[in-house]
Symmetry: C2
Subunit: 325 residues, 2 copies
């Protein structure tokens, strides 16, 4: 079998974030579920943008953030996702390439504009996300190049991609291509509401196609329809080869067959939790791709997550390679 020449190929929504600080009342007045991700229409996006304070734009997207962080940790990374050929699409493409990530997906011609996520950061550092999917809705099977998938040791899929209609088929195609090439398939559940919207499809995918599962407590309990984390964790451990389950300040639990590793969170001053889970997955996968073992993988994940929650924005600002060394 040809060894992979990429460590990780991420597939996800290609999104530009618009971050702005807001008081809690701003969320309450609009019924926005704090800490969650809501899908919004063009009209809702325009109304919310008009009401929110001045923002700062930066490239985002869950799997794309993971790819940028993993590249910062020295992994060889690619990303597939759909932008439009507009100013924000050029920002997204520039930033992910500048992070050292291979990004071959062709922009969508003549369709919706580049996706954006209006992120409201409350004084406690929690982020509430409102996503207008735009061009991402058009991401489909045709965008999954099997040769690109076969190049990567791990294909990493973002749960949010269960929302755009054509993307589930793209997921399955990517998983088949990875399997055929002898590669691993990782998936992150992304968001408990997203799990709720597509629970059967997620369960089916996790059981049939996934080798590695990333989820936080709310997501894994939503997936297995239980309120008991330990029960959900045990079931995840039976469904996949590796389950890496994050618990915010309590660190993470990693299950692999009969092995159970508990990893503490790295110390952090919480400024903005945007991208914490994405960065954890990046650290985990970058270490895993190097064969560093579960404990080190969890440690790299904790360190990467602590770095990104210490500042505004989801991509790293400090030298992560030095931090894990």
């Amino acid at each position: 079998m040809t060894p992979p020449d990429l460590d990780i190929l991420g597939i996800g929504n290609a999104i530009v974030d618009v971050l702005a600080p807001t008081p809690d009342a701003f969320l309450a007045e609009r019924g926005l579920p704090k800490g969650g991700m809501s899908l919004i229409s063009t009209e809702q996006a325009e109304a919310l943008y008009a009401a929110m304070p001045a923002g700062v734009e930066s490239s985002g997207g869950s799997a794309a953030n993971t790819c940028a962080v993993a590249a910062a940790l020295g992994a060889r990374v690619g990303f597939l996702g759909k932008v439009a050929p507009d100013a924000l699409g050029r920002v997204f493409a520039h930033d992910i390439r500048a992070a050292g990530v291979h990004f071959p997906t062709a922009p969508l011609e003549g369709g919706a504009p580049t996706a954006r996520c209006l992120i409201l950061v409350t004084p406690d550092g929690q982020r509430t996300m409102n996503t207008f999917l735009g061009a991402c809705v058009s991401f489909g099977e045709a965008d999954v190049d099997e040769a690109e998938v076969a190049r990567a040791g791990i294909v990493y899929l973002e749960g949010y991609l269960f929302d755009p209609p054509a993307a589930q088929a793209a997921f399955r195609k990517a998983a088949r291509a990875a399997r055929a090439a002898g590669r691993q398939v990782a998936i992150t559940l992304s968001d408990p509401f997203c799990v709720g919207r597509h629970r059967d499809a997620f369960l089916d995918f996790v059981r049939r196609d996934a080798d590695i599962l990333f989820a936080n407590e709310a997501e894994v309990t939503a997936l297995y329809g239980t309120e008991d984390f330990e029960e959900a964790a045990a079931r995840a451990g039976q469904d996949v080869a590796i389950a890496a389950l994050t618990r915010s300040a309590r660190g993470s639990v990693i299950l692999a067959g009969t092995t159970r590793v508990t990893v503490p969170a790295a110390p952090a001053q919480v400024v903005d939790t945007t991208g914490a889970g994405d960065a954890y997955a990046a650290g985990f996968l970058a270490a895993h791709a190097r064969g560093l073992g579960l404990e080190q993988a969890g440690r790299w994940g904790s360190i990467a997550a602590a770095e990104v929650i210490g500042h505004f924005g989801a991509r790293p600002q400090a030298d992560l390679k030095e931090m894990v060394a």
Copy 2:
């Protein structure tokens, strides 16, 4: 005379900033003058953007920053400047309105895209700016609504507007309209290179039209063709009613007839100097519009400048009203 219903009307380039950290070598390799502002063509902008690291986008523009900061200090503020009806133009318009600034200028239809400034921030916190003027080149006399000028107690003009060809005529129209309505005219020199490009036009404007002059040491010495700050300051004091001259960590000197006030800089941890001069002018004008006197005006300027250099980006993140109280 009708009292003004705006305190300040700013006129300047409407620009979206793209900020990225770079090492000093990145500037040296490209011959970019550190700390300065260079005008770049579409092709140069594309080449520089392709080479620079992932960035963070936020609304900028010198006078526009001043307007946003002055509004944050409670002043009633308007702004005139030209964007295109594209994604970055909508970002600019949203952000300045969200800051509480009245922004009536119509976007440019069918012309160049919204201006952007590629800002490279070196580890010492200095910013080196590379501006693609885009739609700003089309800002001209027709965009200066005399009724808007007459509404404001002070019209504030950005020296960078001497670069786009049609804007000098717009400046003169704004100054005439302000004079006719019994209002004050303030101008900032913006940049020593910009002063060098348009020295005679600046000198003529300062002497004939300006009541208040803002400049830093490099700019005021460039204007008067001397290396001696005291000589330049004395000449500025003869040319305008109020000259507010900033000296970085050494604070500012304010000259008004025979009065000379020296104001210390406010303590700051320098992260990114982008917008320091803009914020100083904002604090000064917001206090001046309230009739607080030169010493308080300088103090408000110092506090506003210290706030914006303490973080990435040119617009305030802390509660400035509380800081000056």
